[in-house]
Amino acid sequence: MIWESKLYKVSRYIFLTAACIFVIIPIIPLVFMALKTGAEYSSTSVLTPPKNWLNTYNFKYAIKVGKLGKALLNTAILLTISLTLQIVFTSMVSYVLHRFDFKGKKIVMTLFTLTMFIPVVTTQTVVFQIIYRMRLVNKMASVILLYSGVGIVGIYIMLNLLSSISKELDESALIDGASYFRIFRSIIFPLLRPACTTMLILNGIGYYNDFFIPNLYLRKDVQTFTVALYKFFGNTATPFEIVAAAILLGIVPIGIAYLLLQRYIFYGLAGAIKS
């Protein structure tokens, strides 16, 4: 146990409390605003608490007008398909890269590694042309296609775990007559579950929050939740207390996911960064 002086302990609490205030203060007016009536919003200061803490009018209105339910469903479909594809592909690539030696292996690994030098924002103008020629603009398939690519972070996480899975498992299964595909499906993939969970959380949060890609490719009928919130926000005709309610609703899914996965998120993030 590391010894800590009393002064240190006190300053810790003071600093951490101040930091939490710094985090929370900007959010408070949003909560207040979402609970105020239109008249109340225009006549009171942003830091005045609402009169009626149970005013749900703004939320109901936001859900109805913003078509948030449909947008949330779109996001759910999009995330489910993309993440499933991405995780399956990542584990396939990692399995091959870890368990086999073959000509060109170095090249493949280098190709994947070098993608970290190519940020999405520097290629999107050309990628847009490609997606456009594939006639996928304004279709969910465009975003799913872009999201299901295999990233180097995912590969690292999986390779890390693969080195702790004994090769004897593969070999004995091979002797028993199992095919490589069977070994991957019945032995390796199930053992990669912790890595899948980490990827699911990391990329799930990332994709749920992403604005750049869906805003570029899904401009018309199909909207993700984040883009729907943006449209809401950008429409000056919408009263701001309604916008506030919609935004607050946008925090709910993340909040639920966070409460359920709190432990995994913190250590998942720390672990992913370390590897």
Binding site: S45, V46, L47, I130
Partner: protein, 287 residues
């Protein structure tokens, strides 16, 4: 014989789609952009080679120099952001009551998306918004400003949002790094009567030097790619345009594909330098 074939089969089938994806959506576009950046391509017709004209324009025309100047604000705010995150990580690294509650609250901003953060800070910086209301309440009316209208203040104001939004990531990284320091080091220091501050200066900082540097580079490559907050909050107005906003505008609204490509390549080069240094540092620390 059968085994060799099935080996080949699994290697090829498992790699083919992801590798094609990689080529089509990362490598071909970036190479295309390099080529396009040397032309006057406008979306239709045949691109005409014009040499480095696009680049020359980007580094001489004030309209475009401004884009990179704006990024400097985002790099600048990374300094207080990293200091804040580091102090937090030092304090959180330990066992005490309320640890999980603090950690839970401190990570919130990092989980919120750009639209949510933008709304929160529109309210924050509005003329009768949170910041001005607080300034008035504590008797500092003199400091009230039109944060988003003033051409001088708008960029530092919205850049400072990055502190709130992203310190969480730095905090998690620092925290992770601090936890890898063997506790014997601190114990030995305590036996020698080492003060906490000395401990931080002589043990914590040198031990996580690598992570510190990686975080700085992360901020640099993040700053050059800033998009969401200025786009959503300001739509790039009031001189808040950043390189990425300009890339989209040039490409999709003005049809100046050549110029957009050149700008993309400039951002790309800066990212390559930052990320390159970063991986160099990570490798070096491993031995």
């Amino acid at each position: 014989m059968k085994k060799i074939n099935s080996r080949k089969l699994i290697i090829v089938t498992f790699l083919v789609l992801p590798v094609i994806h990689l080529l089509v959506f990362a490598y071909i576009p970036i190479i295309t952009n390099v080529l396009l950046s040397l032309t006057d391509y406008r979306g239709v017709g045949v691109p005409k080679y014009i040499g480095l004209k696009n680049y020359k324009r980007l580094v001489t025309d004030p309209q475009y120099i401004m884009l990179f100047k704006n990024c400097l604000w985002y790099m600048l705010v990374a300094i207080p952001q990293l200091i804040f995150a580091f102090i937090l990580a030092v304090f959180v690294n330990g066992k005490f009551r309320g640890l999980n509650l603090f950690k839970g609250i401190l990570i919130i901003p990092y989980l919120l998306n750009g639209v949510i953060v933008s709304t929160i800070f529109i309210i924050f910086f509005n003329n009768s918004g949170t910041l001005n209301t607080i300034l008035k309440a504590i008797g500092l009316e003199g400091l009230q400003r039109q944060w988003l209208q003033s051409l001088k203040l708008v960029n530092p104001s919205i850049a400072s949002i990055s502190i709130w939004r992203y310190y969480g990531l730095n905090f998690i990284m620092f925290f992770g790094a601090l936890q890898t320091i063997p506790s014997e080091l601190f114990e030995a220091a305590a036996v020698d009567g080492c003060k906490k501050l000395q401990e931080i200066l002589y043990i914590s900082i040198p031990q996580i030097r690598k992570v510190l540097f990686i975080n700085i580079l992360l901020s640099v490559s993040g700053s050059i790619q800033v998009y969401e907050i200025p786009f959503i909050m300001m739509n790039g107005s009031n001189g808040t345009t950043t390189p990425v906003i300009q890339i989209q505008q040039s490409a999709f609204e003005d049809n100046r594909m050549g110029l957009a490509a050149a700008l993309s390549i400039m951002v790309f080069v800066i990212v390559v330098i930052a990320v390159g240094l970063q991986s160099l540092v990570s490798k070096k620390g491993d031995d």
